[in-house]
């Protein structure tokens, strides 16, 4: 007998956006559950190191400045109505987090202290040493425990389920520990399952960042937006691509080339190392390409910051550099290079997290919500500012959760056909029953990652992108036949990785399609064959709709401009 679970609101993902959404939905009085493929504190929100932005007016800061710098950072692709909400509501959310128990760094007066971050002139980044994401995530999980929210840990969602009206009616998932499949009925589903970094190799992202939520929403009929906008972080360790926080540069660290020059003087004379991430990553790549790098890297130099500051405020990366690059940051510079880090695009939502448009301006799925890295408002446009992602998760996670709770109250329990669970089980059986071909999931994943990095890196052109797109297409064919060796029901992580790869291939296809469609350079999408930003033709978003029986369908939405007309972007 298949078990059915029923909730008003089901949140997929238990990182910051997911937990924040679940708590907000819970406060509306809705019944809420969280479903996640890993325990909540294993989520990738942990990895955010540097901090969370907010312009607090009692400190002489202005939300308009934060908003403008976010818009400028986005290379004018961010929707300004969403950016305004982000900047206006940041303060209240920082205080709410502090009241929940986050141990934010304090100044001498015992008030919240700040540090500087990239793309911003003012120090408005609140932080907990350099493990801000972890400190926030653990506190939100404390709040989830306090509220006794049911959390289905280590359940893998395979698909979105819609009711007979085409509304979102829940998800189909299996428990990794037992292999048992079940239907989770819900009047509203919030996708907060994070990013898709593993589509690339290497990436700063954890191994669990496989775009599950993005792909599930996409296949379920929700459009994806801005998928060509992939952020490369300027300071990652070569090899596995582990991240060294922007906090290092925020505290004053320098970037040097092989000749010992602070090369950012050439590229961003005012903001130097704290220019936007896309700008710094491009500068580094040019230095490396023109022969002023060291083994494909430039140097991050923290020595002049002093041992005390490094130990107190950069302890995590001090240890990381020691463990993973065998470098003592207090004694010598560490080699770094640009590395894939963040997906600006994702499941298109409005400012309440809805994946459908009340006004009918674009087609989506009623009852489906999204928040966090999986979502695209578009807030970050062509390039996200450091310390805006944590803010995004709490502000828009809260809004999505609240709206989902209120929406659920107006809806009847969804009617779902009987055969759904059986169909889901059969789909898994098909994958498990495939005959041996000699190919492996790991090999396909690796080839996809390398192809994507090659084709959709810091610099792109038509030819390279086309090649990568073809490779992804052929890898899809191989996925359709690849066998799983482990046939067990209990904790079959081979099966999980195969299904994740299926999702990642969908994501890769949409990234390729978006990037080939946008014939200009904007933000992180820099084409050596179309060098300039083209506001006349491309001040718009690319939406991609899934078509089960044909190629994806493209759609466009104009950028929403409230008060900042596009200008030339100089740092």
């Amino acid at each position: 007998m298949a078990t059915a679970y029923e909730y008003d609101v089901l949140v997929m993902g238990a990182g910051l956006a997911g937990l924040r959404a679940a708590l907000a939905a819970h406060q509306t009085g809705a019944t809420v559950a969280v479903i996640t493929k890993v325990h909540p504190v294993r989520s990738h929100s942990n990895a955010a190191q540097g901090g969370i932005n907010a312009a607090l007016t009692d400190r002489g800061d202005k939300w308009e400045e934060h908003a403008f710098e976010t818009v400028k950072g986005s290379d004018y692709l961010g929707d300004q109505d969403a950016v305004e909400i982000l900047a206006q509501e940041a303060g209240q959310d920082i205080l709410a987090l502090e009241h929940m128990g986050v141990i934010f760094n304090r100044n001498e007066e015992g008030r919240l202290g700040t540090r500087r971050f990239g793309g911003q002139k003012r120090a408005r980044t609140f932080f907990v040493s350099d493990f801000t994401g972890q400190a926030l995530l653990h506190v939100l999980y404390e709040q989830a425990m306090k509220a006794r929210l049911p959390v289905f840990e280590e359940w893998f969602v395979t698909s979105l389920v819609k009711d007979d009206q085409g509304r979102c009616g829940g998800v189909l998932a299996f428990e990794i520990r037992s292999g048992r499949m079940a239907m989770f009925k819900a009047k509203a589903v919030v996708i907060a399952a994070g990013g898709l970094g593993r589509v690339f190799e290497p990436s700063t992202n954890a191994l669990i960042c496989t775009g599950d939520g993005i792909a599930i929403a996409y296949r379920g009929g929700a459009p994806l937006m801005d998928m060509e906008m992939v952020q490369y972080h300027p300071t990652t360790l070569r090899g596995k691509g582990l991240l060294l926080s922007e906090a290092a540069r925020g505290e004053g660290a320098h970037l040097l080339n092989s000749e010992g020059e602070r090369f950012m003087e050439q590229y961003a004379p005012n903001m130097m190392e704290l220019a936007s991430r896309d700008v710094v990553s491009r500068a580094e790549q040019i230095e490396i390409n023109e022969g002023r790098g060291i083994n494909g890297c430039v140097l991050l130099d923290c020595r002049h910051l002093g041992k005390t500051l490094i130990r107190e405020r950069l302890s995590q990366i001090l240890e990381e550099a020691k463990s993973f690059a065998n470098v003592d940051l207090t004694e010598e510079p560490v080699p770094v290079c640009p590395g894939m880090h963040y997906m600006m695009g994702g499941v298109k939502t409005d400012v309440e997290g809805r994946c459908w448009d009340l006004a009918g301006g674009w087609q989506g799925v009623p009852g489906l919500f999204a928040a966090g890295e999986a979502a695209c408002l578009s807030l970050h446009g062509g390039n996200r500012l450091g310390a805006n992602s944590l803010l995004d998760t709490v502000v828009f996670g809260r809004r999505a959760g609240r709206c989902a709770g209120e929406y659920a109250e107006t809806q009847p329990q969804p009617r779902i056909g009987d055969g759904v669970v059986k169909d889901g089980e059969n789909a898994l059986k098909e994958v498990l029953a495939r005959p041996e071909t000699g190919d492996t999931v790991a090999r396909i994943r690796h080839e996809m990652g390398c192809a994507m990095t090659e084709g959709f890196g810091v610099f792109r052109d038509e030819e390279g992108m086309g090649l990568a797109q073809q490779t992804v297409g052929s890898l899809r064919e191989r996925w359709n036949r690849v066998a799983i060796h482990d046939k067990g029901q209990v904790f079959n992580t081979s099966l999980v990785r195969a299904l994740e790869l299926d999702f990642m291939l969908d994501c890769a296809e949409t990234i390729a399609l978006g990037a080939l469609t946008r014939t200009e350079s904007r933000g992180a999408h820099f084409r050596t064959d179309c060098l300039d930003r083209d506001d006349d033709h491309w001040l718009k978003h690319i939406l991609i709709h899934y078509r089960p029986d044909g190629p994806p369908q493209l759609d466009f939405l104009p950028v929403r401009i409230t008060r900042w007309e596009p200008q030339v972007r100089v740092y």
Partner: protein, 319 residues
């Protein structure tokens, strides 16, 4: 270099499920971590090898396991630091929790104990309009415990838990300390009272293993000791644990060395007849062998006791 990984495996779906060891020989690089090696085995040799892993950077806490007999994060442990070329590295699932499959353990019990300490901030009154004012040092101090990523390494290797499954354990106690030491929390007194119960802060046997194996430098045992000190400071009802601590210090201050019978009497209380009678067989065995230590007035302070007492006075002075 060539390294052998001897991995403890367990397949619950086998005909007669029994744990067994399986060897994998692998060429490893200097920079490889144990996690790199395990992933390589999984990707190129044996897809069925099952483990949890995610961040690769010692922040998510997924890949806790025992490596050469001690709990560690596989992603933070270098192969080269665990074995010389041609040597064998032993990899096993964490201890003190049931194994689900291969290196994957069931952490439900771990989380049950975390929940037991009510791990959320409980302020005394309504929140202020702005932030809580808090001394920067107090917040900096808390970052040490907040570094805990709940990987389970300390619980895996806790010697007290191995013999006393009711012990709440080092991870939960470190978490409890995080709130007791938070100037914003208003519930320290009742938290400490709960931790004073059997299974709480006095059940730690101070073996230091949790400090030794913690990949994040949380120092659980030190936090447990700090909790005990706070408990005494807050005047929680005395327990054999707290009386033992106080009597121990008091006797050293008075005598300069340990008066063992007195320590037992003061820890359990003379009125605790059952406990006192339980010592009788030991006393009767010790007497004919002249091993019964002197006690009370017969146990004289050591020469130079004044200096010991001065040390105590200085230690008690506020810093």
């Amino acid at each position: 270099m060539l390294t052998t990984f001897r991995i403890r495996r367990f397949n619950p779906e086998a005909e007669s499920p029994q744990p067994y060891f399986q060897d994998y020989r692998l060429v490893t690089e200097r920079s490889d971590t144990v996690l790199d090696a395990l992933i390589r085995i999984r990707e190129t040799v044996d897809e069925s090898l099952t483990l949890r892993c995610s961040c690769r950077g010692a922040i998510c806490g997924s890949c806790g396991m025992r490596i050469n007999g001690h709990a560690a994060l596989a992603c933070k442990t270098k192969v080269a630091s665990m074995a010389a070329p041609d040597e064998t590295i032993h990899v096993e699932p964490m201890n003190n929790m049931p194994v689900i499959k291969d290196l994957v353990t069931d952490m439900a019990g771990f989380w049950e104990k975390i929940r037991q300490v009510q791990p959320w901030l409980q302020p005394a009154g309504p929140a202020p309009e702005g932030e809580y004012l808090a001394p920067p040092e107090a917040m900096n101090h808390l970052t040490g415990v907040m570094h805990c990523i709940m990987c389970g390494a300390c619980v895996s290797d806790c010697a007290a838990l191995e013999v006393n499954p009711d012990f709440v354990g080092p991870a939960a106690l470190a978490k409890a300390y995080r709130f007791v030491a938070d100037p914003r929390d208003g519930n320290s007194s009742s938290r400490l009272r709960e931790l004073n119960d059997p299974g709480g802060m006095w059940d730690c046997t101070r073996c230091m293993e949790c400090i030794e194996v913690c990949p994040k430098g949380v120092g659980a045992m030190d936090r447990i000791m700090a909790l005990r000190a706070k408990g005494i400071e807050y005047g929680v009802p005395s327990t054999s644990g707290s009386r033992h601590t106080e009597a121990f210090a008091d006797i050293i201050e008075q005598k300069g060395r340990l008066d063992e019978p007195m320590l037992a009497v003061r820890t359990f209380g003379l009125a605790n007849l059952r406990q006192m009678f339980s010592f009788l067989p030991m006393i009767l065995r010790a007497l004919p062998r002249r091993k019964l230590p002197k006690s009370g007035p017969l146990f004289r302070p050591i020469p130079g006791i004044d200096r010991i007492r001065r040390l105590f006075q200085r230690a008690k002075e506020p810093r």
